[in-house]
Subunit: 112 residues, 2 copies
């Protein structure tokens, strides 16, 4: 993904401070760490796999923040919203960052 | 630095979401990127080297956020406050993160 489609920022518009701010929330960090493990996932399955006991609307908000920061891509397939990491685009913006945050030890306080 | 001295968190208390939140501000990110280049520095010289046109009190606030997140260490030498990166402690918490953020391309909007 290079050019913006109105929903996702173009690769060259991904900014490190925005990416860091999006990742700084424990629930969003758990979402990204889980996506790195399981690959493209439907919302509901992803939320469950990430162990996030939050409302659907809160999870939707977190998805929006991650999407607008350029961290995740969302595509519609039938009735499902499928989420995946924009690994190539993130590696262009900030090489090594995604690997660092997804391999970090998971001893942070549980997201709520 | 392992145990907390009341000013700096102990290594085991450094949390990835807190580190990411501290780094998400452009002025703090520039401070950390500059410290990675120049090594331990006095406040005034560091602010100048980082190109930060902000008040001394705002820069002090940023230092406090970075210190409380476990990213920088502050020591007093005579009349100077010397700042340095806690690289070893950060690498224990989140391997590769510091390298990723300090080597990222510097095309973010200028901090103000």
């Amino acid at each position: 993904m290079t050019a913006s489609d109105g929903l996702h920022p173009a690769t060259e518009d991904i900014r490190l401070p925005t990416v860091l701010a999006a990742l700084a929330d424990p629930a969003r960090l758990a979402t990204v760490q889980t996506l790195a493990q399981v690959g493209e996932s439907a919302c509901t399955q992803l939320q469950e796999a990430a162990g996030l006991s939050i409302s659907r609307s809160t999870f939707s908000h977190h998805q929006k923040v991650l999407r607008e920061a350029g961290i995740i891509s969302v595509r519609i397939h039938g009735t499902q919203r499928l989420l995946s990491l924009r690994r190539t685009d993130l590696d262009a913006c900030c090489p090594g960052l995604l690997d660092a945050v997804t391999s970090a030890r998971a001893d942070s306080p549980q997201p709520v």
